[in-house]
Each structure stands twice: as structure tokens, then as C-alpha cells.
Amino acid sequence: MKVTLKIWRQSDKNSKGQFVEYPMEDVDKDMSLFELLDTLNERLVLKGERPIVYDSDCREGICGQCGIMINGEAHGPLMNTSACHLHMRSFNDGERLTIEPFRSAAFPVRQDLSIDRSAMDRIIQAGGYVSVDTGQASDANQERISHHAYDEAMNAAACIGCGACIAACPNASAALFTGAKISHLHRLPQGQIESDDRVINMVTTMDDEGFGNCSNHATCEAVCPAGISIKVIADMNKLYLKQIGKG
């Protein structure tokens, strides 16, 4: 098949970027999109041109590196699928694919499609953990955890930290990402003890980092490769309001 890649090129975070089109021929439909980008880069390097910078590491949908917009959608057209799991069979022969980085004030572009997502690390630093030092733990089976609680915790814990939720949100809100960690830890007895402080500290940091507010568009849930439900945002809001109410 043939496709045209229309790719965002930006040489560094301060420069102005632009789209550049690259026609691609003899594309194998079983190739992944990143393998097509690899092929294009090889061509550019051999011609002495600057290759395209993009983040992609595990290529099995779990490391969370590969956030890009494809035709205006975070991670492209497939539901619950990260960009690295997109194969060319998901596109039509002759199609033009517009590829650009995740856009958010809190995610400065490093170069081309690569972005700086360190704001998400800082949200976790604000309280996205259980305060336990190595060696303090008691026997793992001492406290029973219902299958249901485990299931709900795991659903939230599955977040891969890619930032698609933020890129897809009209307000660039990090509510799904932040809510997922708050909900995961709150549903387990080990994490619950610190829930009150955690929610205040993480939400405050989220605001300080320049992420917007949630206004219930739910586009985050639609694009999340890990299938995180907006229920986690409800969990976060409930805990937050309880704390504010205590005032």
C-alpha cells in the first residue's frame, strides 16, 4: 500500500514548527506505524537529512513512551490501543496520516514528536505512593483484600503514564492520570490511610503544573490505551470534596 505521512517537525522547544509531507510507497500492511517511521528515518539519514525524533521503546503497549496524535486522535483510531500497537492494516491505501505530538502547555515539545512529560512525575512525587520503607512490611496475607477491591485497584493501577488523556482533553486536564493513582491506592487498605493528604497534595500539584480542570468530556477515557474509566475521576473528586468540606 501507499500512504503519505504528514509529520510535525520542530527543531527544539523554542522554535516554530511546521508540517512536512513524506510520501511512502511499498508499505507492508503488517508493519507497525513506528516501523514505518523507522523506515522513513533510515531514508532521511542516508540522504543526510535530520531524522524525525519520536518516543517509542517497548513497542508492546506498556511502557507509555509512544504518545503521538494521529489524524487528530491521541494514539490513533483504535480503541484502547497505544500508538505502538497500530499496524498499517488499520489505515486505507492512499491515506494521508497527520502525525503530531501530544499538545499541552504542561508538555513542552522537545523535538518533533518527542515531548517532556516530567510534570506527571511531579504529580506522583506529591503523594502517589504508600509511605512504607523497605523492611517495614508485615506478612502479605495478613490483611485480606476482597477480590472486588483488588479488581478495582488493578483497573486503576493499569495506567501506563503516556499522557494521552491530557492530550485528548479540551482543557488539557490530568484528572484521569491523577485520579487513577488516587483511586488505585485508596481502594487498598495499605494506601487508604494516606488518602486524605494524598488527594489534596496531588490535586494541588496538578493545578500548579498548568493542567486544566475536568469538565466531564470523557475524551480521556475514550483514548486511554489502558482502558481507565472516568470513575477514577469521580473517586478523586469525592475524596477531594470531603477534604475541602472538612476545611
Binding site: 521503546d57 513512551q65 522537545r110 512525575d121 523492611g135
Partner: protein
């Protein structure tokens, strides 16, 4: 060449008391003095993050380096199936000793007893630790922790978090690390790649790291350095590893005097997805846990063109169940991979490239129901569907062996210290616990145990006993020289101006290694392999092309440096494989096999760990760590 192997430092006493003895007698650094020591950790995977967090909690000043944009991305994240622990929660006869024995036997009696026993001993604390961090391990309906079985054992000791155990354990250690960052004990340098170790007289004093965004070379001094940079299976290009996994930290430590243990012992995972075309950049792994319920088979007739559903039971060869009745589809990885290769090379392979075998869930779905299979393996089945476009609920999966885990790595003593003083290696980066073959769900365990439970004892023991023989001036001079050498190397690579990309070289190297130093090896093949690698190295020096910018992001330069290290390491792997006139674990020499085609060890001549070192002129020399089995007797490794 007058290098000697340092002592293995195994404590005296009976096996089950060695670690307790060590802990009771090691030197300590008092709480008030800990912040005076600076420790560098290279890598933020499970081993690196757990070590950094634990040392930070104790009060040491820690700096952690990763080339990723966040400490949550390392490839530990991709381990699916689980983590082993001898909790015996299932009351099925498990114990620390049994787990130790399974691991020693799984490694084909080529690992140090004391280390392996300690791994099993610490396994239980790891489960406690992870649960306390909020790692959501699977629970049964009574609320207790659930377990499953992995290859090479007859008990259920594998704890899991759906098919995302590695991710959840990594996030646990990442969160512990982020907690230390917020407390100020630890600094994480993201987008930094370590390029050299600063040493004086075989003592580590820091590292040179390149900031990947600015290209700046930074010198960081420290009292001790821990390498936790993972394995180098990506040397085969097509592997289950992530694109940026590399051997550079390990290899550069080797070139600075650390030694390499068994570099050719590499595990090929039996259940990865087969290659489908030349464009392919990696082979995705499907968790071994699938073998709990899936049955592996090939058609009994060669080149059978029928769809799998149309092949009746009588025309199917369930070769693992047939050859290994007591372990069946859960035979260890090396044996399963070799058996698959045997069928594929015999002409029974399936799929478009005839390079795969079937993993069939038809019987399990019939006997246990669709809901059970969905609950246990749902995300793995979805992943299979996403990658291949096929539905494994309706037709069998196609799987094939792929380069996966490196048992080999930096040689370490009982304290996990290399023979360079103050340079430690943990997790997959070292050679220690797995011998010649690693059992499933032991890699997450080893990474965690090294980082959480061993380093916090052995590293302070080193610091407390250290005499500051080198003056600051002397150390800084060594640092400057190191930095200059890296600068020259980078300049040289950008000035080759050839016509072949780093990836092109990498792919060719991978083909050479699969052919000559892969699932099976011969003396003759290895000789050819070494010649081919040497030729490729010479071509690399003449024909590499990369962009010339060095003060901004240059992903091709990053790749080129990794490939350069791979080309050098590949030769040592072949040397190591050639030297070993026996088959053991994952190392299979065709000259040494039983009549049934099983690995044939040569215990008299080869009961040792090959330990390689490099002399000043760049030649490799072999030293031997003799393996004295005091507590178990070596037996033929049978899974029949």
C-alpha cells in the same frame, strides 16, 4: 596479563545460615554519617529503582540515571507473568529449599549455591514489601493472594497482577523512588545515558553521563556506583526487549576492568510471536503463564497446509507432552525453545514463514469455560489480537522462540560487587543467580531482591570499610581523562560519514548471532561467526553514517554508540560459547547432546563459571570460578 579473580566472599556456615551470618557481621554506616556518602545508580528499572529508593530511605545521598524521560519506563515494565516466592500459601509442598533447588536445577547446576539460596530466602519478604507498597497482586474470592505455576516447577509459587506483574512491581519501586525524590534524598537524572565509569586502580569513583537533550557530557563523582542497566538480549536485534535496551553500561564497565560472567548464556523465550517480515523491529513476548492452559503442538505431517481447526487430533503432535510427560507444556524455557526449534527445522513449522508452532486453548476453553480464560489471560489475548489481527479464542496462537534474557552479565561476588571495588551490578546486568538458564518469574524476583534486600547491606559494608586512598585531585584528573576519551569517540563516529545506518549494522549483527550463537551452536559455526563479526566491525568503522550535531538530540548517535558496544560484546559471546565444550541450560552445543537430543553437560571439565576480563591491548582472557556443590549433588537435569 596477571589478573586474578577476586574471592566470591561467600560467608561460612550451613547454607541456610549464610545470609543471616553475613547480616550479623557486616559493617554498618551510622544514620548520622549516611548523608556524607554519595551513591550513583545507573538504571531505574526494578533493580535500580528499588536499590535507589531503599538507600535513599536509609539516608544515603543517591543519584539515579536513566536515558528514559521517566523512571517508570524501563523494560521491567513489560514482564507479564509473575514473580516467584516460596510462601507455600497453596500448601503444595513448597519451601525455601525447594525453590532454591528448582532454581539451581533450572540453571543446570551452573550457579553459585549461596547466592541462589539467598534469592529463595528473600523471596517471601519481597511479596510482603510489594503488597505494602500497594502492588495489586491477584486475590482469590476469600481475599487471599492467588498463585499460578510457571515452567520448570511442580508447585504454585508465582504471584501475579493480571498479565502486568512487571508493570505493577516497577510502579511500586518507581513510586518509592518518587517519594525519596520528594524528600530530597535522591535525585533522578532523566534523559541521561551513562557512557563511562571513572576508575583508579580498579576502584570506582563516578561516571560520565551524556545529557541526551543538550549533548553535554557530565562528570558525576561518587563513593560507589551501582550498575542496574538490565540485559543485552537486544544484541540480537529481533528480541523481546525494548528498542533502547543496551549493553553499553555493562560493556563499558568491562572495558574499565570489571569482569563478565558467562556472556553467551542467553535465554530464548519459547512463547514470543514469530517474525512475519523484514520490516520487523521486535518480537513481542506472550507470557509463559499461557502454558498453564494452552497446549503446544505442530501438525504430524510436514508442510500441512490445512487450517489448524481442520487438523484432527490424530494428525497433531503435542511434542512437549509426549517428550516430557511429567512437566508437559510447562517444561523449562530452554527445553521448550529447543523442542520448538527442532520441530520447525524438521519442516513442521506453521504460519506464513513456517517459523512457528501452535499454542492452543481449545481444550481449556471447553473444560474451564470462556469466562475463566478471559479472566486469566484476557489482556494477553487482546494483545495477540492487536498485533496479529487474529482471534486466539477461535484459533490457536502461533508462537516461536526469541532472544530474551541474558543470564550472563557482569561477574559479581556474594556482595553483588564486581571485581572493581565500589562498582556493584544488580538485576539482569549481573551474572549471579540463574546459572545457564533462568526459570520463569525469577527475573522480577532477582531484580527486586538485589535492590531492596541485598544492596542495603552489602553496599554500606563496602563504604564503612573503605579507606580514602585517592585524593580529590587525582580523582578529578581521572574524570577529565574519561570525559575527553568519550568526546573523542563521539567526534570520531560523526566523522566517518559513510553510507550505512546504525540500525542496518544492528540488523546484520542480529542475523549473525541468531545463525551462529543462537539456540544452538557449533565450534565451526562460532568460528565463522567471529570472522563475520570482525568484518562487520571493520565495516562499521568505515561506513557508518550519522548526523553530525553533537550539542542537541541525536538519536542516531545514541544508537551508533550502543551498536558499537554490541559489536565488541558479540565477539566475546562467541568466544565464550566456543570455549565451552559442553551443553548446559540455554547453551546448547550440537557436539554435546544425548541420543534423544537433550543437553549433555561435561561436569568434570566445565563445573565453572567462565569469567572474562580484558587486558590493556583489548584481548580477552578467561578465568574460572569453580563451582563447588556442597549442599546439592549435580544430577542430570530431567523433566521427563
Amino acid at each position: 596479563m596477571n589478573k586474578r579473580l577476586s574471592s566470591d566472599k561467600v560467608p561460612p556456615g550451613p547454607l541456610e545460615k549464610k545470609w543471616a551470618y553475613y547480616k550479623a557481621n557486616c559493617k554498618l554506616v551510622s544514620p548520622g554519617n549516611r548523608k556524607k556518602y554519595h551513591i550513583i545508580v545507573v538504571g531505574t528499572g526494578l533493580a535500580g529503582a528499588s536499590a535507589a529508593a531503599s538507600l535513599g530511605e536509609m539516608g544515603f545521598k543517591v543519584s539515579c540515571f536513566t536515558f528514559h524521560d521517566s523512571a517508570r519506563r524501563a523494560h521491567s515494565v513489560a514482564a507479564q507473568g509473575g514473580v516467584n516466592a516460596a510462601k507455600n500459601y497453596k500448601n503444595d509442598g513448597d519451601s525455601v529449599y525447594r525453590m532454591f533447588f528448582d532454581t539451581i536445577k533450572g540453571g543446570d547446576f551452573r550457579a553459585r549455591e549461596a547466592n541462589v539460596y539467598r534469592l529463595a530466602e528473600c523471596s517471601m519478604s519481597l511479596i510482603d514489601q510489594a503488597v505494602a507498597q500497594g502492588v495489586p497482586f491477584a486475590r482469590d474470592y476469600g481475599g487471599y493472594l492467588d498463585n499460578r505455576s510457571f515452567g520448570g516447577v511442580q508447585v504454585s509459587r508465582t504471584f501475579y497482577a493480571r498479565g502486568q506483574t512487571g508493570q505493577q512491581l516497577l510502579l511500586g519501586s518507581y513510586q518509592a523512588l518518587m517519594r525519596q525524590v520528594s524528600k530530597g534524598s535522591t535525585t533522578v537524572y532523566t534523559r541521561h545515558e551513562m557512557l563511562d565509569i571513572i576508575t583508579i586502580d580498579d576502584e570506582a569513583h563516578g561516571i560520565i553521563a551524556r545529557h541526551l537533550d543538550t549533548g553535554e557530557l557530565e562528570t558525576h563523582y561518587a563513593d560507589a556506583v551501582i550498575i542496574a542497566s538490565g540485559g543485552y538480549g537486544k544484541i540480537y536485534y529481533l528480541s523481546t526487549l525494548a528498542m533502547a535496551c543496551n549493553a553499553s553500561a555493562v560493556w563499558r564497565a568491562y572495558k574499565k576492568g570489571a569482569m563478565m560472567g558467562a556472556p553467551s548464556w542467553i535465554q530464548f523465550h519459547p512463547t514470543s510471536l514469530p517474525q512475519t517480515g523484514t520490516h520487523q523491529s521486535k518480537l513481542t513476548l506472550m507470557s509463559e503463564s499461557l502454558r498453564n492452559d494452552g497446549r503446544i503442538w505442530v501438525p504430524s505431517q510436514k508442510n500441512d497446509e490445512r487450517q489448524p481447526q481442520d487438523i484432527p487430533e490424530s494428525d497433531r503432535n503435542y511434542y512437549l507432552e509426549r517428550r516430557y510427560p511429567s512437566y508437559g507444556n510447562l517444561a523449562p524455557r530452554d527445553i521448550s525453545s529447543r523442542a520448538a526449534r527442532h520441530e520447525i527445522e524438521g519442516g513442521y513449522g506453521v504460519g506464513p514463514m513456517k517459523n512457528a508452532v501452535y499454542l492452543d486453548f481449545k481444550d481449556a476453553i471447553q473444560n474451564k469455560g470462556m469466562a475463566y480464560i478471559k479472566d486469566r489471560y484476557g489482556n494477553l489475548f487482546d494483545m495477540y489480537n492487536k498485533i496479529t489481527g487474529r482471534n486466539p479464542y477461535k484459533e490457536p496462537m502461533m508462537i516461536s522462540p526469541s532472544a530474551h534474557f541474558t543470564m550472563g552479565g557482569l561477574w559479581v561476588d556474594y556482595e553483588l560487587m564486581t571485581n572493581v571495588r565500589g562498582l556493584f551490578a544488580i538485576g539482569e546486568a549481573n551474572f549471579s543467580d540463574h546459572g545457564a538458564n533462568r526459570l520463569g518469574a525469577n527475573s522480577l524476583l532477582q531484580a527486586c531482591v538485589d535492590g531492596y534486600f541485598i544492596i542495603p547491606y552489602t553496599l554500606p559494608n563496602y563504604l564503612a570499610g573503605k579507606s580514602n586512598t585517592h585524593r580529590k585531585q587525582e580523582i578529578e584528573k581521572a574524570g577529565e581523562a574519561c570525559k575527553q576519551a568519550i568526546q573523542d569517540e563521539i567526534r570520531r563516529l560523526t566523522q566517518i560519514e559513510g553510507s550505512k545506518t546504525a540500525d542496518q549494522f544492528h540488523r546484520e549483527l542480529g542475523q549473525i548471532l541468531y545463525k551462529y550463537c543462537g539456540l544452538s551452536r557449533t565450534a565451526e559455526g562460532l568460528k565463522e561467526g567471529i570472522l563475520a563479526i570482525k568484518a562487520l566491525r571493520a565495516e562499521f568503522d568505515q561506513s557508518l553514517i550519522i548526523p553530525k550535531n553533537i550539542h542537541s538530540i541525536n538519536t542516531e548517535l545514541e544508537k551508533a554508540m550502543r551498536v558499537k558496544d554490541y559489536l565488541e560484546l558479540a565477539e566475546l559471546m562467541c568466544l565464550d560459547a566456543m570455549n565451552r565444550h559442553e551443553s548446559c541450560g540455554a547453551h546448547f552445543r550440537e557436539e554435546y547432546q544425548t541420543e534423544e537430543g537433550e543437553a549433555l553437560r561435561q561436569d568434570e571439565a566445565f563445573s565453572y563459571v567462565p569469567v572474562w576480563c580484558m587486558d590493556d591491548s583489548g584481548d580477552h582472557h578467561l578465568l574460572k570460578e569453580t563451582l563447588n556443590y556442597e549442599f546439592v549433588s549435580m544430577t542430570e537435569r530431567s523433566y521427563k
